[in-house]
Symmetry: C2
């Protein structure tokens, strides 16, 4: 199975947009990376904006689906949170070009596209907020402001895609574990009876 040109454009666009930003990238630069003439892109995508939207739509759909899927067989709020964080971090490291773009280029979307992606982002954030709320209600988490904590958590985890590189000191699993610890300790404080 060879990579289709369309898939290559998609992948290289994510990489380019990540490096130079959407508005800092040109269709000719993208075409160069794909190894094709600028005009050829338009056989696969309707416009530059169309490529950006495709990247964001696909990324958010995947993310939502992955997290929802993991939630199915998790019972306690803590178990849910652990799994949700892990999935989030894994996706933000493996497909880090796409997730970085999806995170950083919201403002480059035209009005209609913007609405759709924002809606998906709100839904995604809601999953995490619900987990934290549940944890508070069950008394296993203590959080002053759940919305604030949700934002802090997601920002902290999303930020990984800004600096992660696969050859680095830490593996994805190690990073995910440390982030989970970091956040859970503050919320649950349950490992502190050691001291």
């Amino acid at each position: 199975m060879t990579t289709t040109t369309k898939a290559l454009i998609f992948k290289e666009a994510a990489r380019l947009f990540r490096e130079k930003g959407y508005n800092g990238s040109t269709q000719r630069q993208l075409a160069d990376r794909v190894g094709v003439q600028g005009a050829s892109i338009y056989h696969h995508f309707p416009s530059k904006q169309g490529i950006l939207y495709a990247i964001m739509e696909y990324t958010m759909t995947s993310l939502l689906q992955k997290v929802r899927c993991e939630m199915l067989d998790a019972s306690s709020p803590e178990a849910k949170l652990r799994k949700a964080i892990k999935v989030h971090i894994e996706y933000h490291t493996v497909d880090r070009d796409e997730t970085y773009v999806a995170d950083a280029e919201l403002r480059s979307l035209e009005a209609e596209n913007f609405k759709k992606i924002v809606a998906m982002r709100v839904a995604y954030e809601q999953i995490f907020r619900d987990i934290l709320s549940e944890g508070v209600q069950e008394g296993v988490m203590r959080i002053g402001d759940v919305s604030l904590a949700t934002k802090a958590l997601l920002q902290m985890c999303t930020g990984i895609s800004y600096w992660f590189s696969p050859g680095g000191r830490r593996s994805i699993d190690e990073i995910a574990d440390q982030y989970v610890e970091l956040f859970l300790f503050g919320i649950c404080g349950k490992l502190n009876n050691e001291r």
Copy 2:
């Protein structure tokens, strides 16, 4: 004391760059907001890139100075960390256009400017890393990977400038307090003997 045109260009540029990104903004849009013709900008700044650099240089200098100043009369690592986080968050909410730009537009800097700002950012991050290292050495903090925790902390706090608005539900102080709690709990776990 009236606002000078130069100061107005500076401020409006930060606001514009934040909204549309550096590459998504034009000198004519900026001139419109200032209430001046496009060419007039060049009497105060050498180039568009010069404006971006001025914003980033000023912001990083202020940030470094403010944090270093606060460190002078703080003794324990925990006290230092509390103060550092508070200063960081305060600056990222009060001057949030500038700090947002300083955070998000690194990639839009030309090579030489890029180097200088990155150096300042590294120095800034180092302050936080040192505080955490000190805390670990003194045994009051327990952190698996100090560099990782530093990144997580800064990303979490910097993210505030992405969504904060002065009319919102929470005051700056409340937000800062909650973020401090959130992070310290995980690191020190010292408030958990209540349960």
